[in-house]
C-alpha cells in the first residue's frame, strides 16, 4: 500500500471530472422536478446520450458535434417520456422505469459496432497564466470546457429559478398545477419543455462519461450514474447549488475509492467499488428527514378537466 502515490492536486482535479456527469444530469432533473414531474428515466437518457455522443464524435471526428448530438438524443428520449406522462397521462414512476429499460436496450443496439473504438480526445482549455499556477492551476484551470459548462449551468438554473419570470412560472407549475392552469399558464407545454431540458442535460452527462471520463463505449457504462443523479436532487433539497455540492461529494468518493484501489489498500476492490452506492443510501437517509422542500405537485398527473 502506498498512499503517498496519491497526489492531492490531481485527486481534486479528477474529482471535478468525476462529478461532472452526475452534476449535469442532476441539474437537469432538478428543473424537471421543480416543474412537478418525476422522471426516473435519467439512467436511460444518460446512456442514450453517451452512445449518441460517442457515435457522432466517431463519425464527424469532432467532440463538439458529439455533445450536441448527445443533448439531442437525450432530449428526444425525454420527449417520449413527455408524450407518455403529459399526453397519455401514464404513471410517472412506471414511465420512467420504461424509459430506462428502453434506453439501455436502445443504446446497446446502437453501440454494438462501436465497442473498442477510441474517440478523438476533447481538448482541455489552456488558460494562459491561470493554468500554470501551481496546485490551483492543476485543480481548477486545467479542464475541458464541459466541466465549466456544468458549473455555469448550475448558476444559470439558480438565477433563472430565483430571479426570472420563466423560473417563477416553472415553480408555480411544480407547486400547484391547478392554480397555474387557472392563471392561464400552459402547464403541459411548460412541463414538456422542462422534461426535454432535463433529457438534454442527462444526455450531455452521459456523453461526458463516454467521451471524456472513460473514454470508450461499453454496454451499460453509466452504471447507475443516472440513479445517483436522481438521489442528488433529493440530497440537494431541490436547490441548485446544493446539487453542485452533492456532485462534488459523490465525485470525491468515487475518485477516492478509485485511488485507493490503485494504491492497493487492503480493502477488497469490490467493497471499494460499492462505496459510492452505499454512501448515496446513507446520504439519502440523512436528507430524507426534511421532506418539506419537495415541489408540492411532484409526480402528480395533471389533467385539465372542466
Amino acid at each position: 500500500m502506498d498512499l503517498s502515490a496519491i497526489n492531492p492536486a490531481l485527486l481534486l482535479a479528477s474529482l471535478l471530472v468525476a462529478a461532472t456527469p452526475i452534476l449535469l444530469a442532476g441539474i437537469g432533473e432538478l428543473v424537471v422536478e421543480r416543474a412537478g414531474v418525476l422522471n426516473l428515466g435519467v439512467e436511460g437518457m444518460m446512456i442514450t446520450g453517451a452512445i449518441c455522443g460517442f457515435m457522432a464524435t466517431i463519425v464527424t471526428g469532432s467532440p463538439v458535434f458529439g455533445f450536441v448530438f448527445a443533448a439531442i438524443g437525450g432530449a428526444t428520449l425525454a420527449f417520449l417520456f413527455a408524450l407518455l406522462t403529459q399526453y397519455a397521462l401514464a404513471n410517472q414512476v412506471a414511465s420512467g422505469l420504461a424509459l430506462t429499460l428502453f434506453g439501455l436496450g436502445l443504446s446497446s443496439l446502437l453501440g454494438q459496432d462501436y465497442v473498442g473504438l477510441k474517440p478523438p480526445s476533447t481538448p482541455k482549455l489552456d488558460i494562459p497564466f491561470l493554468s500554470d499556477l501551481p496546485f490551483i492551476g492543476t485543480v481548477l484551470f486545467n479542464h475541458d470546457i464541459i466541466v465549466y459548462l456544468g458549473i455555469a449551468l448550475v448558476a444559470l438554473v439558480w438565477a433563472a429559478l430565483k430571479y426570472s419570470r420563466i423560473g417563477l412560472i416553472l415553480r408555480a407549475v411544480g407547486e400547484n398545477h391547478d392554480a397555474a392552469h387557472a392563471l392561464g399558464y400552459k402547464v403541459v407545454r411548460i412541463r414538456v419543455l422542462a422534461i426535454m431540458f432535463g433529457g438534454a442535460c442527462a444526455g450531455l452527462g452521459g456523453a461526458y462519461i463516454s467521451l471524456i471520463r472513460v473514454p470508450q463505449w461499453t454496454e451499460g457504462m453509466t452504471a447507475g450514474a443516472g440513479w445517483i443523479a436522481l438521489a442528488l436532487v433529493v440530497f440537494a433539497s431541490w436547490k441548485p447549488w446544493r446539487v453542485l455540492l452533492g456532485a462534488w461529494l459523490f465525485g470525491g468518493v468515487t475518485v477516492l475509492q478509485l485511488n485507493l484501489q490503485a494504491a492497493g489498500v487492503a480493502i477488497p476492490v469490490e467493497f471499494l467499488s460499492m462505496s459510492p452506492y452505499i454512501i448515496t443510501i446513507v446520504v439519502l437517509v440523512i436528507m430524507s428527514a426534511d421532506k418539506s422542500r419537495a415541489p408540492a405537485s411532484l409526480g402528480r398527473i395533471f389533467h385539465a378537466s372542466s
Binding site: L40, L80, L83, L84, A88, L89, A90, N91, V93, A94, S95, L97, A98, L99, L101, F102, G103, L104, G105, L106, S108, L109, Q112, E219, A223, G224, W227, I228, L230, A231, V234, P268, E270, F271, S273, M274, Y277, I278, T280, I281, L284, V285, S288, A289, K291, H303, S305
Partner: protein
C-alpha cells in the same frame, strides 16, 4: 377536436384489451426496427413468437418457456403486490442475487455431504436472503421516509459487487483451476434443483411460481391484507380513514417481493444456472417489472405475461442464432412493450371524446 374525458371507473374491457393492443403495436414497431436492421420483419417476428412454440425444434424450446418464465413470474408476483399499493421495489435484481448467494452458500457449506434436508435449507436461506435485502429499503422507508425506489436500486449495484466478490473469493470453487465461479451445483445432487419430470422444464422454482400465483390471487381477493393493499393503491385517502397500517403494508410488500425474488434467485442458481458466477444473473429482476405491468398487476395476468416474456427471451435467442439479430434488439423490444402498454393504458382510464370547438 378530440378531448380526453376521465372515466368514472377504469374500463374493464379496455383493462383486458390494452395488453393485447400493446403487444400488437410492439410487434409492428419491432418489425420496423428489425427491417431497419436489414432483417425480414415477418421472418423475425415469426422466429420470436411462433418457432419456439410450434417450429421444428419446439420440443426443445417449450420446456425453456417454463425455465425462463418461472423466475419472471415469481419475481413479478412479489413486485405487483407493492406496485398496487404504490410501494416501488425496483431492486428485485439485487434481492435475486442475494437470495442466490445465500442459498448457494448454504448448499456449498454442506459440500460434499449428501442429505435430504440440504435443499430445503437452501430454499429457506434464499428466501431469507432476498427478504433481508429488501428489508433495508423497507426499514429505511418506515423509519426515515427514505425513498424506496432509489435505495432498492442502489442496492442492486451493491449486490452485483458482492456477487463479484463471492464468485472470486469466498464461494470460489477450490478445484476450479483458478477460474471465477463456485462449484457447479449440478454435480452435487443434494443441492441440485433438478427437473421434476425430465424434459419438461418443470423444476421447483416453476412449482413455487405457480403456488405464488394462487397465493397472490387469494390474498388480493379474499384476504383483509390484500384488500388493504388494493385500497391504498386505489384510494389512499380512504385507506387512511379505514385504519390501514402503512408501516405494516410497506414491510409486508417489500419483504414479500424480496423473499420471492430471493427464491427465484436460489432456484435459478441451483438449477438452470448451476453456479454462482459474476454474471449468472440475466436481468430477470428488471424484466419482471415489465411482466408485472403487462400482467396488469393481476396474478393471472402476470402468469400469462411471464410466459409471453419468456417467449421473447427464447425467440430472441433463436433469432440471434439463425437471423443474426443482435441481443440488444430483443432488450429494446421488451422495453418498447412496456412503453406502448403505458401509452395505450390511456384508453382504460380515459375516454376519447369528439367535441365541437367551443366559442370562447
Amino acid at each position: 377536436m378530440l378531448k380526453l374525458e376521465k372515466r368514472p371507473q377504469p374500463s374493464q374491457t379496455f383493462a383486458y384489451l390494452t395488453p393485447i393492443f400493446a403487444i400488437i403495436i410492439t410487434m409492428i414497431a419491432g418489425g420496423l426496427l428489425f427491417m431497419l436492421l436489414g432483417k425480414n420483419p415477418f421472418e423475425a417476428i415469426r422466429t420470436i413468437f411462433w418457432d419456439p412454440l410450434f417450429g421444428e425444434f419446439a420440443f426443445y424450446y417449450r420446456p425453456q418457456l417454463l425455465v425462463k418464465g418461472g423466475p419472471l413470474i415469481l419475481i413479478a408476483i412479489g413486485l405487483s403486490l407493492g406496485f398496487r399499493a404504490g410501494i416501488w421495489n425496483i431492486g428485485a435484481e439485487g434481492q435475486y442475487i442475494i437470495g442466490a448467494i445465500c442459498g448457494a452458500g448454504v448448499g456449498l457449506a454442506f459440500y460434499p455431504m449428501e442429505a435430504w434436508f440440504i435443499f430445503p435449507l437452501m430454499i429457506i436461506a434464499g428466501a431469507l436472503g432476498g427478504w433481508a435485502w429488501a428489508m433495508i429499503p423497507a426499514l429505511l422507508k418506515v423509519k426515515f421516509q427514505t425513498n424506496e425506489i432509489l435505495v432498492s436500486l442502489m442496492l442492486v449495484y451493491v449486490a452485483e459487487q458482492l456477487l463479484a466478490s463471492m464468485s472470486l473469493g469466498l464461494l470460489k470453487n477450490p478445484e476450479g483451476h483458478g477460474f471465477p465461479g463456485s462449484r457447479n451445483l449440478k454435480d452435487y445432487s443434494s443441492a441440485f434443483n433438478d427437473e421434476i419430470i425430465t424434459g419438461s422444464g418443470m423444476h421447483w422454482g416453476v412449482i413455487t411460481a405457480f403456488i405464488a400465483v394462487i397465493f397472490a390471487y387469494i390474498l388480493l381477493n379474499r384476504h383483509m391484507l390484500g384488500f388493504s393493499i388494493r385500497l391504498t393503491g386505489e384510494a389512499p385517502r380512504a385507506a387512511k380513514f379505514s385504519s390501514v397500517n402503512p408501516t405494516r403494508l410497506i414491510l409486508f410488500c417489500l419483504g414479500m417481493s424480496g423473499a420471492l425474488a430471493g427464491l427465484a434467485g436460489l432456484f435459478e442458481v441451483s438449477g438452470p444456472a448451476g453456479q454462482i458466477s459474476i454474471d449468472f444473473n440475466t436481468g430477470y429482476g428488471f424484466t419482471a417489472i415489465i411482466v408485472a405491468f403487462l400482467g396488469r398487476l393481476h396474478p393471472i395476468g402476470i402468469l400469462f405475461a411471464g410466459l409471453l416474456m419468456a417467449l421473447t427471451y427464447i425467440g430472441g435467442e433463436i433469432a440471434q442464432a439463425n437471423l443474426g439479430l443482435p441481443a440488444a434488439a430483443i432488450q429494446l423490444f421488451q422495453g418498447m412493450l412496456l412503453f406502448f402498454l403505458l401509452a395505450v393504458d390511456l384508453l382504460t382510464n380515459y375516454r376519447i371524446k369528439r367535441v365541437r370547438k367551443e366559442t370562447v
